[in-house]
């Protein structure tokens, strides 16, 4: 039997143990709240979330399991007539360079597009006469751009240096440009008799691993569909008809995102050159690798070295879908992807296209169309144009080009605002990865609607006009403010005379 004193002692001990647990529990709960906030914050900051910078070699940038979404034909490539192959003049850079050449040769552009000297360019504006206004405007806007751009170098010095460095790399001579007939040039890579693979499956498995090892985040393989090969265009050949070289069997399409923080700070702080450089180098490495094993290769790479249109081939290779802003939309990096490819005669197993419900997402979203500083993206509820037999959202590439010429980049090339604002352009941190995994799997559309309600109400998007430079009525706004390493006032002896307009951490 315990005496009263013992019972009293035990009661006191139990009560202080209970108090300890109660207060300890409260303290632990408070610590958990703090730890949740702290961990969340650093996970948001974590560069590990920047797909394309760390998990690449293991192939873990491509984290979305596409198998359950495979279909025979991409739903966003709706064929509504005869598919026509693209013409030389359909390629914006061909038109722009030809017009510049004519101007340098003494031709004075006017509102009358019928006076354009190059027939191939004229044929394009015969199809889209309204777009000529935009192209014409781009010339005068470029002059304004060139007269103003240097006044802003203090602000953009670090961003332009970053972009300039990659531009130098991009213009290096690897992979070399073809100089002869593709039957000769594509075989220059070949070093020996072909080594036979066990099967096309083995070849594809290995080639994809190599794409990751060469630094690419996403890769897919498809048959070379001749519908997406340009007519009248073959690098290395001054004249070309519409034939397709016999050895062009398959195409390996791969890509890498642009560095996230500058991309979010489009226009002035962003550049495509970093991703262009990486994708271009990977196409050269892949061509050389195929050549070492005895197979022909034809690299297709940015800025301008193509015989094919890349986004539809990427869709057929299962990398993503087509969207309102006309860029390939991938489940991992949204439209923040820069592509390159290698056409080869190696027999490969093909990937299948995927259906991610992107069609419905773009129908309800329209964020890129509202933000586009040139108003080039359609705001229609459904795809409202047919281009070469495929239904699409209307897109005015000449309007987009006009804004490139206005934008605060030293070369007057590129904008990327529609990529930065897209809700699918989000880093690979846990909240966005959760949403990107959930949304395509939700047949009810509840996730999509909840997500878009948050995007429209909780997120800050500067007005379309604000993205313009000061000399054309804007305030150099960007979706995110530039990262610290691009702010010249942090590192250079400059006087800061500007304010930033864009999202920032909120403290």
């Amino acid at each position: 039997m315990k005496d009263d004193a013992q019972i009293g002692d035990e009661a006191t001990t139990n009560s202080s143990r209970r108090n300890f647990l109660k207060l300890g529990g409260l303290a632990a709960a408070t610590a958990t709240v703090g730890a949740g906030a702290g961990a969340g914050f650093v996970l948001g900051r974590d560069p590990d979330a920047n797909i394309g910078w760390g998990r690449t070699e293991a192939g873990k940038d491509m984290y979305f399991n596409r198998e359950a979404f495979e279909v025979d034909f991409p739903p966003t490539m709706e064929v509504v007539g005869n598919i026509e192959r693209p013409e030389w003049g359909d390629y914006l850079f061909n038109r722009a360079f030809s017009l510049v050449k004519s101007i340098k040769g003494g031709w004075e552009p006017s509102e009358d597009w019928t006076q354009i000297p190059d027939l191939r360019v004229r044929e394009y504006y015969e199809k889209y006469p309204k777009r000529w206004e935009e192209m014409l405007l781009s010339f005068s806007e470029k002059v304004k751009h060139d007269n103003n751009i240097e006044k802003h170098r203090d602000r953009f010095a670090l961003a332009w240096a970053y972009s300039g460095a990659y531009s130098k790399g991009l213009h290096a001579d690897f992979p070399p440009e073809p100089t002869e007939h593709p039957d000769v040039d594509d075989f220059k890579w070949v070093q020996r008799e072909p080594k036979e693979f066990k099967s096309p499956e083995h070849a594809s498995k290995l080639i994809k691993q190599m794409a990751f090892k060469f630094g690419m985040s996403l890769v897919g393989i498809t048959k070379l569909d001749s519908n997406f090969v340009f007519k009248n265009m073959m690098r290395g050949m001054p004249e070309w008809g519409d034939e397709i070289p016999k050895h062009w069997k398959n195409v390996i399409v791969f890509g890498v995102p642009m560095n996230w923080d500058p991309m979010y700070a489009a226009v002035g702080y962003s550049t495509s050159y970093d991703a262009y450089y990486r994708a271009k180098m990977a196409s050269g490495l892949m061509a050389a690798y195929l050549g070492e094993l005895g197979y022909a290769a034809r690299p297709q790479f940015p800025g301008n070295s193509y015989e094919v249109i890349m986004p539809p081939l990427a869709m057929l290779a299962g990398l993503g879908e087509s969207t309102r802003n006309g860029i390939l939309m991938t489940p991992e990096v949204g439209p923040n992807i820069r592509l390159a490819a290698v056409i080869t005669n190696l027999d490969l197993e093909h990937d299948k296209p995927i259906d991610l419900n992107m069609k419905h997402f773009c129908e309800s979203c329209k964020i890129c169309a509202d933000a586009c500083p040139s108003g080039s993206i359609s705001k229609a509820d459904k795809p409202d144009d047919v281009v070469r037999g495929i239904r699409k959202y209307a897109f005015n590439q000449d309007g987009c080009w006009r804004f490139w010429n206005q934008g605060p980049t030293p070369s007057g090339l590129g904008c990327r605002v529609c990529i930065a604002v897209c809700p699918y352009t989000r880093k690979n941190n846990w909240i966005h990865a959760l949403v990107k995994q959930a949304e395509p799997r939700d047949p009810t559309g509840v996730t999509r609607n909840a997500l878009l309600a948050m995007q429209h109400n909780f997120f800050y998007y500067p007005d379309a006009e604000s993205f313009h430079p000061e000399w054309s009525g804007g305030n150099f706004a960007s979706y995110h403010q530039p990262p610290e390493w691009m702010r010249s006032e942090e590192y250079l002896k400059v006087e800061k005379t500007w304010e930033y307009d864009g999202n920032w951490e909120g403290f």
């Binding site: 730890a35 949740g36 996970l43 948001g44």
Partner: protein
């Protein structure tokens, strides 16, 4: 909490996991003091609420960390407020449903 750190990051998550034992032991003591008669479904509701609350805070701060300042504060204010109200409602229900003392 310590990304890119080989040692501190896994240690942090282990400690945070261990702390949860203390959180639930403490909660159990409070529940006993108020005689809430906790059973499996009551604990499930409380556990689910706690997880949602912590994930909301972590999610909002992830947005702040990736420079989505606006969205971060809105999520915290909007979803956080809903969860606080939800938490109060759960507590009220637990008190209302507490078994009568014999």
């Amino acid at each position: 909490m310590f990304p890119q750190s080989t040692l501190l990051d896994p240690l942090f998550w282990m400690v945070l996991g261990a702390i949860q034992v203390l959180v639930f032991t403490g909660a159990s003591q409070w529940a006993k003091e108020y005689q809430l008669g906790m059973n499996w479904w009551r604990w499930s509701v409380v556990g689910f609420w706690w997880l949602s609350f912590i994930l909301t805070i972590a999610g909002a701060f992830t947005l702040l960390g990736e420079n989505e300042g606006n969205a971060g504060w809105y999520v915290l204010g909007f979803v956080g407020t809903l969860l606080v109200i939800g938490g109060a409602a759960i507590l009220k229900v637990l008190v209302l449903l507490k078994p009568n003392p014999q």
